[in-house]
């Protein structure tokens, strides 16, 4: 409390106020905490305090089998569980040389992109909520609900899928589900446009976002921002295109980058806008995949006692919150020797300390929302 006491000529002295934002604050997206020192509404510094959701997933990885670890990876980032599934399975496949069936790859991409839609909807919806617009949030969740229903049909779970397995996917996508996904996409694209008319083009919303918490490209690299946050700063970098994996090289899609068409390049609006545009790109990808979906088995033959040879690999995929990397070491036994999960939110969180100096309390909420940090992914 008494960190900075400014004695003034008048004998009138002021001191900074220390506020604890979180861990039960409404807009910290899970259990995050910031120790904020403010001068009235203006923040002197905001020190992130993470770890409230630490579930030691990396340690658990050393104690369960390779197959048994897949459901745990769901929990690393439960808003985008499919990607953690995929990256762990990719690592296991790379270590053991297990091939993935072609239909399996397409099923993976469909499921992942649906999951990306769901995750981005949560992101932009709660972002609206943080700024006070309640309706866009519920509209976004309404669409996500439909995606959850589709997921339920594809893999039987709504949030923690355990769908992607080593060698392919757990369950094949049925033709009637494909038809429903296509129907959903037809319905969803106009909804995104309506969402834009309701929220993204709103003058108050733009005023709140444009020019707020600008992240330059240099800062983004220094702090290793990834995914939409990096693209929002103007760097055209997408692992799906630049370090291709799965069947992404065969698909056509654009990589939206922040252009600063309303404020400055790298401001909160750019990061938000990249996510909105990625919604549309994901729709495009799913459409192509549905068209190209080949026949054949969804999963290749994998022994139940899965023992990849000793070795190590670092695999990354483009998750909704950016580069999700798994560094997996196998010592040839039934259990992974070491699993390291490197997530986008963790690095995004570390930049908040720097950016928060001198902004207003309301802008801190915008900053957190625009970085789309996700507590489970930070703490793992």
């Amino acid at each position: 409390m008494n960190d900075i006491v400014q004695e003034q000529d008048t004998g009138f002295y002021t001191e900074d106020m220390t506020i604890s934002v979180g861990p039960q604050h409404p807009s910290t997206h899970g259990v995050l905490r910031f120790v904020v020192k403010t001068d009235g509404e203006v923040i002197g510094e905001a020190i992130p305090d993470v770890g409230y959701l630490h579930r030691s997933i990396e340690k658990i990885g050393e104690k369960v089998t390779w197959h048994g670890y897949v459901p745990y990876t769901d929990r690393a980032d439960y808003l985008a569980a499919m990607f953690a599934n995929q990256v762990f399975c990719m690592a296991a496949e790379k270590l053991s040389g297990t091939p993935v069936t072609r239909r399996g790859e397409f099923c993976r991409v469909i499921a992942c992109e649906l999951n990306r839609l769901a995750s981005h909807l949560i992101s932009v919806g709660t972002f609206g909520q943080d700024i006070g617009a309640m309706t866009p949030f519920v509209h976004a969740l309404r669409e996500r609900e439909t995606i959850n229903n589709l997921m339920e049909e594809i893999c039987g779970a709504r949030l923690t899928y355990n769908y992607i397995r080593i060698g392919g996917v757990g369950y094949d996508i049925l033709p009637e589900t494909c038809a429903r996904i296509a129907a959903f996409l037809d319905h969803f694209e106009p909804i995104v446009e309506e969402f834009n008319r309701l929220l993204s083009e709103n003058k108050i919303f733009i005023e709140r976002l444009a020019g707020v918490s600008v992240i330059s490209k240099e800062d983004a690299l220094q702090y290793n921002l990834v995914g939409p946050n990096l693209r929002g700063s103007g760097l055209k970098w997408d692992i799906r295109r630049d370090i291709p994996y799965s069947v992404y090289p065969e698909l056509e899609f654009e990589i939206p980058v922040g252009t600063g068409h309303i404020g400055t390049v790298g401001d909160s609006f750019d990061r938000y806008w990249v996510r909105i545009r990625e919604l549309q790109e994901s729709c495009k990808i799913i459409r192509q995949c549905l068209k190209m979906l080949p026949a054949g088995p969804a999963i290749s033959k994998v022994p139940r006692k899965f023992k990849p040879p000793a070795g190590e690999c670092y695999v990354r995929v483009e998750a909704p919150r950016g580069d999700m990397g798994f560094y997996v070491i196998s010592d040839g036994s039934e259990y992974p020797y070491r699993v390291r999960i490197r997530t986008g939110s963790y690095t995004a969180m570390s930049i908040i300390d720097k950016l928060s100096k001198g902004i207003m309390l309301a802008d801190l909420i915008v900053l957190i929302g625009s970085l789309d940090v996700d507590a489970p992914e930070i703490d793992r």
């Binding site: 509209h139 049909e153 969804a298």
Partner: protein
């Protein structure tokens, strides 16, 4: 602040507010999306769930062979099975078969490895209970014998039905084509 930008600001604000109001008003006359849970729909909500839905685990002990595959595969060890030898009949029997629903994370691995489809996910998802003990499901309250698959198909008519249900579940649920299950069967 120039006059032009002043006027554009006012115009943009009015325009976007007008647009937003028209969208929210249009939703006032559309149908709501949420459902009237749980008493205002004609059929139980469980029946609307897809067949693949992974709800609370159920076990049909009559067709369980006691191979312990599910116990071994469970990553969170929520299944505990006890098997011993019945002293009178000299047959192996279950002493207990418990599933801790508290711990279960509904990953579906156990139901995929089951050779007969005895352990499977039901559509039930409401697990509220007054104490944690109520969440431990005991499928073998008293010792019961293991199921032995007969060569050339099942003959007991009650068991035939159950075996068929299990097999149907396996076919529908656990990977229609190939997969981790197929290679060891």
């Amino acid at each position: 602040m120039g006059v032009v930008s002043y006027i554009t600001d006012v115009r943009d604000t009015v325009k976007s507010v007008f647009e937003g109001l028209s969208i929210t008003f249009s939703h006032l006359v559309r149908r709501p999306m949420t459902i009237q849970y749980p008493d205002k729909i004609p059929i139980p909500i469980q029946e609307t769930l897809p067949r693949r839905y992974r709800g609370i685990l159920e076990v049909d002990l009559d067709i369980c062979t006691g191979c312990l595959a599910c116990e071994r595969v469970c990553p969170i060890t929520c299944i505990t099975i006890g098997i011993d030898m019945d002293k009178e009949t000299k047959q192996r029997q279950f002493t207990h078969f418990d599933i801790d629903i508290c711990k279960c994370m509904y990953c579906g691995l156990c139901s995929e490895v089951c050779p007969t489809g005895a352990i499977r996910h039901s559509q039930e998802f409401e697990g509220a209970s007054y104490n944690p003990a109520g969440l431990v499901r005991h499928f073998a309250p008293e010792p019961s014998a293991l199921y032995k698959p007969k060569k050339g198909g099942e003959t007991d008519p009650t068991l035939v039905v159950k075996v068929d249900i299990g097999q149907k579940y396996l076919d529908e649920f656990a990977t229609p084509d190939g997969g981790t299950v197929a290679d060891e069967k």
